[in-house]
Amino acid sequence: MTEPTTPPYVAEGVQIRIQQFLAYEAELLDDRKFREWLALFSDDTQYWMPIRSSRPPRERHLELGAPGTLASFDETKADLEQRIRKIETGKAWAEEPPSRTRHSLSNVRVRMQDGLYAVRSNMIVFQSRAERDEHWFVGERFDLLEEDGGPAGFRIKSRKIVLDQTTLLAPSLSIFF
């Protein structure tokens, strides 16, 4: 991973604003306000969930799939919008009836990186489907945020989502992270 590893100490005000932003974003997802959620991303955003695999000790640095290899998500903003359009048809059967989700973010660590905020957070997403299906998605998010002066305060320049599973124990990834 190329992310900075210096201690994640920024001014308290910045820390709180970013935590509030992440909570607001999670609220939009759990309220299924997908268009408003998408508006938080920059037009050139990258939304990426690489695949993870178990490797021998001296290859441990290759545990996470590199850019350009197979991924679980590899999206532009237009791609994400297309996924929202699919849900909005009311005939996206993996989301109709809709999933009930709960996005919880914690351990928010903020570092400055080239004028942007590099934000790592731990993620627990609960998904309840239909009568009694439920799935847990536990992992970490790596976001690059920029100040944008808008009502939400920030825009997401890129998001990398790393799940703590190799074989995914769910039938599909029909929700957003």
Partner: protein, 443 residues
């Protein structure tokens, strides 16, 4: 366990009915392990995953874990991923490069072909101990078809090309479309779906019918600006189904020109069109225009042309599968084209795939319903195009019929029932040891 189960009554291809017990019954599943998965050619991975000596990946044949390794002489060998001492899994990495494999339990050490190389305190086993007899169980039948690796536990099984039969014609339309052949993008999608392995295998063998309903949301979301039902629709175009005596099959729309699926990236679509003339010269008109379509090789390997997803439906008991999916690309395509196919496949198929999501939803719900007594005893309808005449395609073997039909599915279950009703031969003795290997790269 349902001791009274009568295998002969589960599948009636004349009447076009199936008993739901084939999907839900634990006894049927136990028999499948011995009579289907222990003697069928099973896809285990692609040669391009292990280019260098010592490169390996772990895979599965049914529920049996295996290790597949590139040897120093360029061949590929594979063995059961189980230490012969106490049964521990020898290799617990998904992929990597190794000089040897050492069991973590007592330190028994195996070479790249699974031969037992060294064991701690070997003198304690006495002078008569035959170390060579305790190597990992070799997979002696291992063959590559244009880079695609298939393995079979059955020493008496026909050669791989014989098993592929008339399906090689259509398989070549995927793996040998252009000079230089194909390779896989690094990385394997692995995920579980709580359904029986035959549901996806059956859908990919014979079911274009579901697409217009199951995938309507994805098709609407991907609908191009110049949408034309005669070109883009999933239910208003006509086409053909094919099937072979070995149980393979597939379906595709009629087309005189390459007509890629609407969900492909523009660069991927352009590649299929730009290379059409070369493909036509290699494959002829009939196959070259077939740039989309669904297929299954019996029992559990499927692919989609154009989208270029290839996958195995590994059984995990009667009620669950583990899907392993790769993306196949033309080796000579430029990197940006390979990337376009990769992104298209990720966005349409795979765990987050806008089309794939809908399939899993169907299969999971079917499997849940089949817990019920009434549901288990109510036959399923496989009567579409029952009695329809076969069609012929000049110069192409196998059988052909209308696209919207259950003909290839009935044939798939005919083959399944045939194997299920034929007891497996007694297991080969452990004393039978040999080198599981196949030719070098691109052999």
């Amino acid at each position: 366990m349902n001791a009274a189960i009568d295998l002969k009554k589960l599948v009636d291809t004349q009447r076009g009915t199936l008993s739901p017990l084939i999907y839900s019954d634990p006894t049927v599943y136990q028999i499948e392990r011995d009579r289907i998965f222990s003697r069928s050619w099973l896809f285990i991975g692609h040669e391009s995953q292990i280019p260098k000596a010592g490169d390996f990946f772990t895979s599965y044949m049914g529920e049996d874990p295996i290790v597949v390794v590139r040897q120093k002489d360029g061949t590929v060998a594979a063995f059961l991923n189980q230490c012969r001492h106490r049964g521990m899994r020898i290799c617990r990495s998904d992929l990597g490069n190794a000089r040897a494999f050492t069991c973590s339990y007592h330190g028994w050490s195996y070479d790249l072909a699974g031969g037992l190389k060294a064991i701690p305190h070997e003198q304690q086993y006495g002078a008569d101990f035959d170390r060579d007899a305790w190597g990992a169980k070799k997979i002696e039948r291992l063959e590559s078809y244009k880079g695609m690796l298939f393995a079979n536990w059955d020493l008496d099984a026909p050669a791989l090309v014989e098993h592929l039969g008339a399906a090689t014609y259509y398989l070549d339309g995927l793996v040998d479309r252009l000079e230089g052949g194909t390779e896989v993008i690094a990385g394997v999608h692995k995920w579980i779906i709580d359904c029986n392995w035959k549901m996806p295998a059956d859908q990919f063998v014979s079911d274009m019918y579901h697409a217009a309903s199951s995938h309507i949301s994805a098709i609407e979301a991907c609908r191009p600006d110049d949408y034309d039902p005669a070109v883009h629709s999933m239910d208003q175009r006509d086409g053909m189904q094919f099937w072979t005596d070995e149980g393979h099959g597939g379906g595709y729309f009629h087309s005189d020109a390459p007509n890629p699926a609407v969900w492909l990236d523009p660069l991927a679509k352009a590649w299929l069109k730009d290379t059409f003339e070369e493909a036509r010269a290699r494959l002829g008109d009939h196959r070259a225009a077939r740039v989309s379509g669904h297929n299954t090789l019996f029992p559990n390997f499927s692919w989609l042309n154009g989208t270029n997803t290839i996958r195995v439906w590994h059984p995990r008991g009667p009620n669950q599968i583990e899907v392993w999916a790769w993306v196949l690309v033309d080796s000579k395509a430029p990197d940006e084209v390979k990337n376009a196919f990769r992104r298209s496949a990720v966005r349409a198929f795979g765990p987050s795939g806008m089309l794939e999501q809908d399939d899993g939803e169907n299969w999971v719900e079917i499997q849940k319903v089949m817990r019920g007594s009434m549901a288990q005893s109510s036959d399923l309808c496989y009567q579409m195009a029952l009695g329809a005449p076969e069609q012929s395609v000049e110069g192409v073997g196998g059988h052909h019929g209308p696209l919207f039909s259950d003909m290839a599915a009935r044939n798939f279950y005919r083959r399944w029932a045939e194997l299920m009703n034929t007891p497996a031969p007694a297991r080969q003795s452990d004393a039978v040891q040999g080198q599981g290997s196949c030719g070098g790269k691109n052999d």
